[in-house]
């Protein structure tokens, strides 16, 4: 398996990158970490005449803490995100998502922008971005555009990004007090795994009444895109945060929210069952963390 031939460009700014992209349009592709792109090129799943590397554009890999929100550059690597203090402290579900992606070697290269653009239903960072209400930041020569992450995924490998746009990053509002979140991925082995099911849950509660104020649950690998378990979320609203509620939410997520398929990695029936278990478990841990 050899790489096909292409022309390689290495712009230093977002503007230059956008100009190149405008010029070559759909015959060009951006390169971030290359851990999806190069694999797809080698396997001849895609072809391209031009590769526009984003690796020289420093602005794209920054992570900024704005106190009320954090901005993560599209080219921030999984390793970098994992090691950033504000992520560790306030976005534990995202940290666990990026920590579970691939291996050390892959995490040193793979970027969050690449993971989102690749839009695999099983992508490890995606459920966390959904439950933290991430806003996708896009830019083209015509200007900037923002879109909630829920609206960004259109299908396996498909997103709302336009041909002449670049993904510059994500803005995640800082979670409120008395909230917590957790992510669990289930695969066949403990590392380097393509998820059979992955779930992230966010939960905010009122410490006085123990009532759930807000919850968001995201399910991966059970539909064409990562999805929110809206019915399970609705069920939890104003319920007491406790094991029984989490169990019920899991049952709703399992029976009503997901639409998994059979493939060689796992059957729909098993995926469904695991949505129930992982929803319950992520909520329980999110609650535990919220109490801390």
């Amino acid at each position: 398996m050899l790489l096909p031939k292409f022309e390689f460009h290495e712009p230093g700014t977002i503007k230059e990158a956008l100009e190149l992209k405008k010029k070559w349009s759909s015959t060009a592709r951006f390169l971030a970490g290359g851990t999806d792109l190069l694999v797809h090129l080698k396997k001849k799943i895609i072809t391209t005449d031009h590769i526009i590397s984003l690796q020289k554009i420093e602005a794209l890999s920054q992570i900024r803490d704005n106190k009320d929100s954090v901005e993560i550059g599209a080219c921030a690597t999984m390793a970098k995100i994992s090691g950033t203090p504000v992520i560790k402290e306030k976005f534990s579900a995202l940290k666990s998502g990026v920590d579970n992606l691939g291996t050390h070697l892959i995490r040193n290269r793979a970027t969050i922008g690449g993971n989102v653009t690749n839009a695999s239903p099983a992508g490890d960072s995606l459920p966390a971005l959904l439950i933290y209400k991430a806003v996708v930041l896009l830019e083209s020569l015509d200007g900037k555009r923002e879109i909630p992450i829920e609206e960004f995924f259109k299908g396996p490998g498909k997103t709302d990004m336009k041909v002449d746009e670049i993904l510059t990053g994500f803005r995640l509002p800082t979670p409120p007090a008395h909230s917590g979140a957790h992510y669990i991925q289930l695969g066949k082995r403990k590392s380097s795994e393509i998820n059979v099911v992955n779930v992230a849950s966010f939960l905010e509660f009122d410490p006085k009444t123990k009532k759930i104020l807000n919850t968001r649950i995201a399910l991966g690998s059970v539909a064409a895109t990562p999805i929110r378990a809206l019915k399970a979320e609705a069920l939890l609203k104003d319920k007491i945060a406790e094991e029984a509620s989490f169990y019920k939410a899991g049952e709703i997520a399992r029976t009503e929210d997901c639409k998994p398929i059979d493939d060689f990695r796992g059957s729909a029936a098993y995926r469904r069952a695991m949505v129930g278990v992982l929803t319950k478990r992520t909520l329980a841990t999110a609650f535990e963390l919220a109490g801390k």
Binding site: M1, L2, T103, L186, K188, R189, K190, S191, S192, E193, I194, V196, F264, G266, S267, Y270, A273, M274, V277, L278
Partner: protein
């Protein structure tokens, strides 16, 4: 006990500096002036008639030097076992699996070669294909090979003792089935080779192989050349696990391309081609009935197995015999029957892989032992001790255990795992299980019927007397055999390991059947010892003459000559030696005569001192059909305890610890022995937990890379406590025997027994994906009304 100076230590491996610094040369690191690159055209169809092949467009492509098909390579059949040769280099009339070779191209670059392959036009007539044993055995099934009705590749029927009687006299009779999945060896280095002819017509094939000797013979036969005109060299190899234990079609195609172009040609498999060639562990479907007395005495085994063979025989005829012959031991058992069937179908051929033929049978049977123990209320460990064979015992199918540290192994894992405290006292969701196994230390007979020596070795002393060169055609493939033979040579000669230089893996160095059936330590080890003794004897004979002392009164240790009683005056010899080295500053001053002096004097008297050694096993085995398979001069044995945690909601199994004890006879290098034990456990865990080659409906491998074909990662590996148990094997060099394959035998059943202990479910199919375990748990809960 005898004291050793070199063996039985943790000497550093002699290949470590090369491997640690990246200087170890593998096939793909090698390049030759003017070298061409080869590529294969392989069938996209599982079963099709070839109507025509048009290579004209490919030949016209600039940079293409040769395009070859069966027209060039001919119709000579080859394979592994001569009685079962059923392959040709290129398909002649039809293709039998997705990947069957049709043509090959040599070109100036790999890019061009690959482009040319795409330009070859083949007209096919698609034939109906079969992918399962059931479909292949149907009355109207398409036949893969003429002369194999019902696609039956081989069948074996054996009975020892009287099984019916044995079962009738049993108090407990248990029948279960067990099925694994087709494996891939998943070695890190994909096969590759370079073929080149010199101007005198001598062919040198440099290849990533476990068996230079068999490759040499196959190449010579298929190309119609003298064996002496074919040289096969194995550089460093990144493992093989059995898959590289025979000549592959790429090696042969490469030789034909080199012959046609008169240029060196290099070829490599990509990872998906490795999956396409396959030749790894079969899928086995076992049905075993085991009978026992109330007191736990094993009475009889009735064993039936179906092997999903794929398109060709490969090692399959040996596999189907091994499956039966390696079951009964390590337990005393008088009655055993076996009916084995290997069936062709339109998938890539299966072959040999670590624990050849025997691993899944053991997984089935060792679970039954636990079931019997449970029924009679006996500790499963105790049940095994009760039935265990002992040194000197012979199985009902004539395999003799000339040394057998089985009870030491069981006691070692009992203690190492704290079995007595844990068994029956684990919290819910946690479990402990054990199993035993045994394996050959080298096949008793070569693959082709012959009286050949299984290994020859040359030890040559350098003229300065300081160094011994060891030449062996054996195959270091990562297991540490070079180091073991250097250690054996050093020990035998009585000199330090640093004074050995060893070269291996080259058919010009002699005959060695290679790295398979865990044979090299015992067999090549013997030949090495023999050669070193021969060289040593020649040195001592010269000394005896010069010093007027009997040979028997001398020995060599740690680089010095030892005399029994008073040392004779050797000053004359020393003066003679020193005179030869005017200007040298390291002349010997030691009180004792050095090996260096003695060996230099021997050279001065006799010319080159060359010791030759050889080995072949004594006559082994019974007289029945197939008696040869399973015979070995010695058997290693092992016991393992697995501790697991089962997530009762998700079905995820975590292996917490493996305690592994293995009787390898005398451990030549303790660290290497532990390495093999760890490696075996890791492969065993992979098979138990993750590994499975998956096909689509057209017979194409779906998961043909190491992302989707899941071997264990370091994160999946538990703590492995490897306990080396030593016994004195009379048939082994210094008492050494195998560890390379035997150590995998108990792993799967030990885990399965632990999972039962943890979750109450028995699993009869591998791998233990979370999903499979989950469904088993659900079924168990429903049956037992557990919420």
């Amino acid at each position: 006990m005898k004291e050793y100076d070199v063996i039985s230590t943790r000497a550093n491996r002699i290949d470590t500096p090369d491997k640690a610094t990246g200087r170890a040369v593998f096939v793909d690191d090698i390049s030759r002036p003017g070298m061409l690159y080869g590529a294969l055209l392989q069938s996209p169809h599982a079963h099709a008639k070839i109507i025509s092949i048009d290579t004209s467009a490919a030949e016209k492509l600039k940079g293409v030097k040769a395009v070859i098909t069966s027209k060039d390579a001919g119709d000579i059949k080859y394979g592994v076992s001569p009685a079962r040769y059923d392959e040709t280099v290129f398909a002649i009339d039809k293709v039998r699996y997705v990947g069957d070779e049709i043509a090959a191209v040599a070109a100036e670059s790999l890019d061009i070669a690959l482009a040319a392959v795409e330009l070859i036009k083949v007209e096919y007539e698609i034939l109906p294909a079969v992918f399962t044993i059931e479909d292949a055995m149907k009355d109207d099934a398409p036949l893969l090979h003429e002369g194999s009705p019902k696609n039956l590749c081989a069948e074996v029927h054996q009975e020892f003792g009287n099984v019916e009687e044995g079962l009738k006299n049993s108090d407990i009779v248990i029948t279960t089935k067990m099925k694994n999945k087709r494996q891939d060896g998943a070695f890190i280095e994909m096969q590759g080779c370079i073929a080149e002819f010199d101007n005198l017509g001598v062919l040198t094939l440099t290849s990533s192989t476990q068996v230079p000797h068999y490759v040499q013979r196959t190449v010579a036969m298929v190309l119609g050349m003298d064996v002496g005109k074919v040289r096969v060299i194995k550089p460093y190899v990144g493992a093989g696990f059995g898959i590289k234990a025979s000549a592959n079609p790429m090696e042969l195609a490469c030789c034909f391309l080199a012959k046609k172009t008169r240029k060196p040609v290099k070829m490599n498999y990509t990872r998906d081609q490795v999956f396409m060639l396959a030749r790894a562990r079969h899928q086995f479907s076992h049905t075993i009935t085991t009978g026992a007395k109330k007191d736990g005495t094993l009475m009889a085994i009735k064993h039936e197995c179906w092997l999903d063979g794929g398109a060709y025989t490969s090692f399959g005829i040996a596999t189907v015999y091994y499956t039966g012959s390696l079951l009964g031991g390590p337990y005393k058992l008088d009655n055993m029957s076996y009916d084995g069937y290997r069936v062709y179908n339109n998938k890539p051929a299966c072959g040999a892989q670590r624990g050849h033929g025997a691993v899944i049978a053991r997984a089935c049977f060792e679970q039954q032992l636990d079931m019997i123990a449970e029924k009679i209320g006996m500790d499963p460990l105790q049940l095994r001790i009760k039935n265990m064979m002992e040194t000197g015992d012979t199985t009902c199918n004539d395999l003799n255990m000339s040394s057998f540290g089985m009870s030491e192994c069981i006691e070692a894992v009992r203690k190492g795992s704290d079995w007595d405290k844990k068994k029956g006292h684990m919290p819910k969701g946690k479990g402990i299980g054990m199993a035993c196994g045994f394996f050959v230390s080298g096949a008793g007979y070569p693959i082709y019927r012959s009286d050949t020596w299984h290994g020859t070795v040359i030890v040559k002393l350098t003229e300065d007397g300081g160094t011994a060169l060891v030449y062996t055609a054996s195959a270091e493939i990562g297991q540490g055999s070079d180091t073991a033979f250097a250690m054996i040579a050093a020990e035998t000669l009585g000199i330090p390991l640093e004074n050995i230089r060893l070269a291996s893996g080259d058919t010009d160095m002699g005959v060695d059947l290679g790295a398979y059936s865990s044979r090299q330590t015992l067999m090549t080890g013997h030949a090495t010892k023999d050669a070193a003794e021969h060289a040593k004897k020649q040195v001592l004979e010269v000394l005896a003459e010069q010093l007027k002392v009997p040979v028997e009164s001398m020995d060599i240790r740690k680089g010095f000559i030892e005399f029994k009683g008073k040392a004779p005056d050797f000053s004359e010899l020393r003066t003679r030696y020193i005179k030869e080295h005017r200007g040298w500053i390291d002349n010997p001053k030691s009180e004792k005569l050095t090996f260096r002096e003695a060996s230099r004097i021997a050279f001065l008297e006799k010319g080159s001192i060359v010791g030759t050694g050889k080995y072949k096993p004594h006559l082994l085995g019974g007289k029945f059909k197939g008696a040869a398979v399973g015979t070995s001069p010695a058997y290693g044995c092992s016991a393992q305890v697995a501790e697991v945690t089962v997530d009762m909601e998700t079905g995820q199994v975590t292996i917490d610890k493996i305690t592994d004890a293995h009787d390898c006879g005398k451990a030549i290098n303790l660290t290497s022995v532990e390495g093999q034990m760890q490696g075996s456990v890791s492969m065993g865990i992979g098979e138990t937990m993750h590994e499975e080659v998956i096909f689509d409906k057209q017979g194409r491998v779906l998961n043909h890379d190491l992302a989707e074909y899941k071997i264990v990662t370091s994160m999946d590996m538990p703590m492995v406590e490897a306990i080396v148990v030593e016994s004195a094997e009379p048939n082994g060099p210094y008492g050494a025997k195998e560890v390379g394959e035997g150590a995998i035998m108990p792993t799967i059943p030990a885990i399965l027994n632990a999972v039962y202990d943890a979750a109450g479910v028995r699993l009869y199919e591998l791998p233990l994906t979370p999903e499979r375990v989950y469904h088993a748990i659900q079924e168990y809960k429903e049956k037992n009304n557990i919420k």
